[in-house]
Symmetry: C2
Subunit: 210 residues, 2 copies
């Protein structure tokens, strides 16, 4: 069965997004600082049609994030468009060709027809809970991993339910002082460290469910 | 000038002690789990007169903690004995021969005469603030580092004041779900990652003030 996996960057004070998230600042105040390690990489720039960039100890982790999965699950807040019933003109943050390129499942309380985008991304809106989303994503992943896209609330729900198989936390020396915490409300989730890698400006720690 | 340095173990959810700290459980509920990596080591057992134990990637970090400093600063809560004016029968958690073996400065609002213990540890009670304690500790450290013993509140005060030169956070895959947070109230402290080392059940990340 496909593994459910989360790769996420966390500030050393525990936040995966800064305070005051808004359409203008989807990662909150200071949140963009979290991903400096990723956007500086050649692997990231190539995927977005850019040139140059670094190759370092973070590269294999970036490749996992950017190319490894066969399906993605994300929360409503990560897909965006504000809370409540859908304004169907909102088609996500990512333009016509989102960077997923595979079936992507959006957890929401508000039904909506699937959205077929360019480049292989289809957004399917799931209203019957995290287990249903996981089941659908596994069926759609073609034997590859299912990636948990985030945000924090969805990650917490899967962790607390014991459904997350693997978790890579990339810890950056940033203090956000507030925002969305990764590890609130995760019940008695049990983790085992299986790998840790030092890279410029970030430490990647891989955990599996114990 | 002697560096001020903090070596501290933090759960992946950000706590350096669990909830409900008490004389019976000075590290709070579940807090003992934090230091499994340390107490399993030969370096730790030898210092406490025990035998056996492991030698692994954590050993150099344990040696830093156990032997590197010329003076220690700690908070009232870490010295123990409850809040308020001193009950002078309380002489710390550690018996007649505490594991510091050097001048140790206890931050408190309540004056008390110095306590000379066996084995080279003298507890000096400092009532005029963190800068005074640091000045006294530096003068007493004989050119070696000054170790910040903890707990969380004292660590936060030194971090927020920009007085902490170096910080080694040992991150363990434990979820405490509550307790004393290391990185609350640290203002705009700036850190730079200079090293990260994977060891069994723990990742040690070294930061310096940026």
């Amino acid at each position: 069965m496909s593994k459910l996996k989360l790769n996420i960057t966390m500030s050393i004070d525990g936040y995966v997004a800064g305070p005051d998230q808004s359409p203008e600042q989807p990662l909150g105040v200071g949140g963009e600082e979290l991903h400096g390690w990723l956007v500086s990489l050649k692997a990231f720039r190539e995927l977005h049609g850019g040139e140059g960039g670094e190759v370092n100890e973070s590269t294999p982790f970036a490749e996992e994030i950017l190319g490894g999965a066969g399906a993605t699950i994300m929360g409503r807040n990560m897909f965006g468009g504000g809370p409540g019933p859908w304004d169907e003109s909102w088609r996500g943050w990512w333009g016509d060709d989102p960077p997923y390129h595979h079936p992507t499942f959006v957890l929401t309380h508000h039904p909506r027809e699937p959205l077929e985008m360019e480049g292989g991304t289809t957004f399917t809106f799931v209203t019957d809970g995290i287990e249903s989303a996981l089941e659908q994503a596994r069926a759609a992943a073609g034997g590859k991993e299912v990636s948990l896209g985030g945000g924090a609330s969805v990650a917490q729900q899967y962790l607390a339910a014991g459904l997350l198989d693997e978790l890579v936390v990339s810890i950056v020396p940033v203090l956000l002082g507030g925002g969305a915490k990764l590890f609130d409300n995760v019940g008695d989730a049990k983790l085992e460290q299986v790998e840790a890698v030092a890279a410029p400006g970030v430490t990647h720690i891989r955990y599996v469910r114990r």
